[in-house]
């Protein structure tokens, strides 16, 4: 028995990236814009979707819902008459904490891509792993709620750096919190200079128009490029 060194020099996530590229090719062929929506659990992803999915005039929206277990979020969105496909991650490895490209790929046959302009993928609530795994999206959006603390960009820089838009949610709660919004905005700017940001409240609807307009604009932009 002897030992041999084998040169590899390969990104460990290449396998995922290859599948993500295949997803992306399928989405492009069907002219579908894909947004990967990420946040910590409880930041308000589903409520922010409920606020806009029915309000995007002329844009056919579908949602791919990633959860470790259950279909509570999918049921909420389906009641808005938007096609929703559920992926549960728990058969994979005791419940994966994120969606990867292969899980999204396995859901593609259930999605009528030809009847969709904008696919929003609601990732599993988690500020760490989802940032590592591309799924074939056009854009990444994260939600950061003001109840989470100003320091979150410094603690989870990978997530804040990977997204094109940061939604700062639950601003209706600001009067009740010892929370420094300027500090949060400064920290976001340190970690991801010049990233687009929208402050809003899914509960009161303040700022939600800007979120809806952003989604409409990115759908048009991607279709123009296709």
């Amino acid at each position: 028995m002897h030992r041999t060194r084998v040169k590899v020099v390969e990104e460990a996530l290449d396998a995922n990236n290859t599948i993500a590229a295949a997803n992306r090719a399928d989405f492009d062929r069907a002219d579908v814009t894909v947004v990967n929506l990420m946040s910590a659990p409880g930041a308000g992803k589903t409520t922010l979707l409920e606020r806009v999915v029915g309000e995007l005039a002329g844009v056919r929206v579908a949602v791919l819902e990633g959860d470790v277990q259950g279909s509570l979020d999918a049921d909420r969105l389906a009641s808005l008459h938007v096609p929703v496909t559920q992926i549960n991650t728990d058969p994979c490895f005791g419940g994966e904490c994120h969606l990867d490209a292969n899980m999204v790929r396995s859901a593609l046959p259930e999605l009528a891509l030809d009847e969709v302009d904008l696919l929003i993928v609601e990732n599993v609530g988690n500020l760490v792993c989802p940032a590592e795994f591309a799924i074939g999206e056009d854009a990444r959006v994260m939600v950061c709620s003001v109840t989470e603390g100003e320091d979150k960009p410094l603690k989870y820089p990978l997530m804040f750096r990977t997204c094109e838009l940061v939604l700062i949610n639950k601003i209706d709660l600001l009067p009740h919190l010892d929370f420094d919004l300027e500090r949060l905005l400064y920290n976001i700017d340190q970690v991801h200079p010049d990233v687009a940001r929208i402050t809003l409240s899914a509960r009161t609807g303040e700022g939600v128009d800007a979120w809806r307009d952003w989604l409409a604009a990115i759908t048009v932009r991607q279709e123009a490029m296709a």
């Binding site: 990104e11 995922n16 904490c97 994120h98 700017d189 340190q190």
Partner: protein, 118 residues
């Protein structure tokens, strides 16, 4: 916690290159910006490797420091806190020169000796 998912990615990469041989060492280059905790990665690696060609393999981790380069003023500097604006000109148009690596560099595999020497 992402060390669990990353361990699977490392092991899948190593096994693909092992060509059926047992793996004794996996050498990895990890940039600081990947937020990987080396001890945690070691722990999960050993766990996820069970039942694969990497079972019992040692994970060698080389940590790569984060260095940024400012596009407008060409300054290059190292960071150990997540502050990505250029300290010289304040621009946010900055690229990561090093620190984003998550690379399986090489593996060491066990080969049975083909011919017993005389």
């Amino acid at each position: 916690m992402h060390e669990l998912s990353l361990s699977s990615a490392i092991i899948n990469t190593a096994v693909r290159h092992a060509d059926g041989r047992r793996v004794s060492v996996v050498s990895l280059r990890v940039g600081r910006l990947r937020q990987v905790v080396p001890e945690t990665l070691d722990f999960y690696f050993e766990f996820v490797a069970r039942g694969t060609l990497c079972e019992g393999a040692r994970l060698e981790q080389e940590v790569v420091d984060a260095r940024l380069r400012c596009q407008p003023c060409a300054r290059e500097w190292g960071i150990d806190v997540p502050a990505f604006r250029c300290p010289t000109c304040g621009s946010g148009d900055v690229v990561v020169a090093t620190g984003n690596e998550f690379l399986v560099e090489s593996i060491e595999v066990e080969e049975a000796a083909c011919i017993a020497p005389g």
